[in-house]
Amino acid sequence: MSQRIRVQTADFDVAAEYQRLAQTSSCGAVVTFSGLVRELVDAELEALTLEHYPGMTERVLEQLVEQACKRWQLGEVTLIHRVGQLALNEQIVFVGVAAAHRKAAFAAAMFIMDFLKTQAPFWKQEHSSTGSYWVAAKATDKQAAEAWQEN
């Protein structure tokens, strides 16, 4: 098992991240998740600022990946989250999991995203045509994380 965890302002290259995961020669399944900055429903998004808690963020991300590795048989996990100012269509977050079996790869990627959404100290502020607003936490994200505890 090897882990690659990054919190960075720079963009990431999904192609390079995929290549790294696909090189794990015992893993027949590679699942990736990418989150991108998208248009708002009710206003024109100009940019997004991602604030985080340096020191805590890295720790929480490491713990999430470690929990996933305990729960499933995984070959390699990559988790990258950007911070700072991001424009429309930019990449925000990447989770990549290589595993021998697809079920484990899918489950681990979903698990990491569900817990990242409720546990990792990142905060989004949207800058739109109508002003700057801190994004409110979603009840559906809390429910998604809680659902894993029932299993």
């Binding site: 808690y53 925000i92 990242l116 959404k117 100290p121 990142f122 905060w123 801190w134 409110a136 936490a137």
Partner: protein
Amino acid sequence: MVKVKFFAALRERLQCAEMQIASQPDDSVAAVRARLIEQHPHWQRELLDNDVLCAKNFAFVGHQEPVRSGDELAFFPPVTGG
């Protein structure tokens, strides 16, 4: 001393990103928060908001968590990354 940090909407509303506060014997998160409100009465509503989360030394903690000199506390709203 205990270092206290605030993030995101809470940081903006309190107009404070980081401060120091004297620690006391048998200190706890709840006790530190009470002293922060004593010093800044207009912080009361924000800091007592049930949604506000607290971390001690980079890990989530509850309000009964003991606090010692040298610890770093952080208060922040529910997270919205990903």
